[in-house]
Amino acid sequence: MIVGDRKPIEEIKEMLAPYKKILLVGCGTCISVCMTGGEKEVGILASELRMISELEKKDWEISETTIQRQCEREYIEPLKEQFEKADVVMSMACGVGIQYMAEVFPEKIVLPAVNTTFYGTNVKEGEWQERCAGCGDCVLDKTLGICPVARCSKGLYNGPCGGTDNGKCEVNKDLDCAWYLIYNRMKEHGKLDMLDEIIPARSWKTSLHGGPRKRVREDAQK
């Protein structure tokens, strides 16, 4: 899923300062599952903003709604009337939803309430970890399912650096060293010889460095 964190309230307050009628829109998919921008979190932010409005005499009118997905037009379009009534829309989705709502309703400004952080998973209660960098050229076959691009602080392709410390990354002792994990997994599977293969310099064109990416499937087009 896509994981994100809600922005600090001070930053949100500053963004909303010029406006009066504010529509908060939550997203029911990834950002809801990571407990950042679903129905519940929209309710919490709405209450916070109403309280601030009262205490600081902001005169804000906050309305709130949550749709299934902000990354799909068919879920956004029914919000037409609510968008029209608002001075500004604040999205609690990931960066995709924030942008796509403004594309569907270009006459409105859509502000971000969330910092989108990574593609990850909920490893245990209250903890999410990054797993994929969306780099466009998967090497998980060569590393037995542990991504060195997303999970090694230096994105190394050819084994651990000299800073591995008791299986932890030198950058942060709370982080597992991805190559330590890869090594152990190869060992468990009797495939340590995989480490001898040199992975040569890759092309980053499939990543953002080739420019923004798009995918076209002609057979799916009308």
Binding site: N158, P160, G167, L195, A201
Partner: protein, 307 residues
């Protein structure tokens, strides 16, 4: 074109002595020249660190040229943290054109350790891919992607390895990978745990790597018991055994530098006795003054003349 003196010394079977020079945090050529003057004649070549630990310093390339002009043979350290393959390859050509003849290919410490922790890390290549790149440029006369160079760079290609980092069982295999990528000499992370280093060398010899690459054992003289404790606790991948820390503590603070030098000399003697170790790399961090004494006391002051 003159080729690397370090290479000649190693090829002739001499026990090489190399050292390191950290450039200043300023545009001060004298700081580099002074360090060069201190080391001149006592070492075969001097590595210049490339913004080590992610701290902004006078560039490695410029410092290398300053040292070269003082009559020393520099080893250009190059990290992949700060430059993509365009800049790396351009600097490799630049180094050769400026008459530098040795390069040490590194990934580099993560930027979060330095004084620019907000920096965007590049890591377009890793150290092994950088070794392959230099090798390709030098031996095939082409850059990545195959485009031909008008004149290939002439560089003796080195890499680093840390026999003390996790997973320990993988460290000899990693050296093998660097050798397969094209490394011709290796300078190791600092050795305090000579027992562990010897175990690693056994693995190196079993793989026959000592015959394919020149291995220089790295040593950083300890200035104080506090430094020993700090390195042991806080520097990832450094193994300072308790007995070394205790030994440093057992002498009064005023004598600890002397003790550090004594330990260094003992370690050098140990290194000289290990089959497959071809030299020593003395990294006296901000303590270059100690190097001449160490080299003299270790009986290595008479540097071979190979020119």
């Amino acid at each position: 074109m003159t080729s690397s003196r370090l290479k000649k010394i190693l090829e002739k079977g001499h026990f090489a002595v190399t050292s390191e020079c950290g450039p200043p945090k300023g545009a001060d050529p004298k700081a580099v020249q002074d360090k060069g003057k201190t080391l001149k004649g006592f070492v075969d070549s001097v590595n210049v660190t490339d913004n080590q630990t992610g701290v902004v310093r006078l560039s490695s390339m410029a410092s290398c040229v300053l040292l070269k002009n003082e009559g020393l043979e520099p080893v250009l350290q190059m990290v992949t943290r700060d430059r993509n393959r365009i800049a790396l390859q351009s600097d490799i050509l630049g180094a050769s054109a400026l008459g530098l003849r040795n390069i040490l290919c590194l990934t580099g410490d993560h930027q979060s350790f330095g004084n620019q922790p907000q920096a965007k890390g590049v890591f377009d290549l890793d150290s092994i891919q950088l070794i392959q790149t230099v090798r390709k440029m030098r031996d095939q006369g082409v850059i990545l992607g195959g485009e031909k160079l008008t004149l290939p760079p002439d560089l003796f290609i080195g890499a680093a390895e840390n026999p003390f980092a996790d997973p320990l069982n993988y460290r000899a295999a990693r050296l093998a990978k660097k050798v397969a990528a094209g490394a011709e000499f290796i300078q190791t992370q600092c050795i305090y745990n000579i027992g562990r280093f010897k175990e690693w060398m056994v693995e190196i010899r079993e793989r026959g790597l000592h015959k394919k690459v020149f291995i220089l054992g790295g040593i950083t003289p300890l200035k104080s018991a506090r430094m020993a404790e700090y390195m042991s606790k806080n520097v990832a991948g450094i193994d300072v055994p308790a007995e070394i820390i205790e030994r440093m503590k057992s002498v009064p603070a005023g004598d600890q530098r002397k003790e550090g030098i004594k330990i260094t000399i003992e370690l050098i003697k140990e290194l000289q006795g290990i089959e497959g170790v071809h030299g020593v790399h003395i990294m006296a961090i901000e303590w270059e003054d100690a190097v001449p004494e160490i080299v003299r006391e270790a009986g290595l002051a008479q540097r071979p003349d190979v020119d």
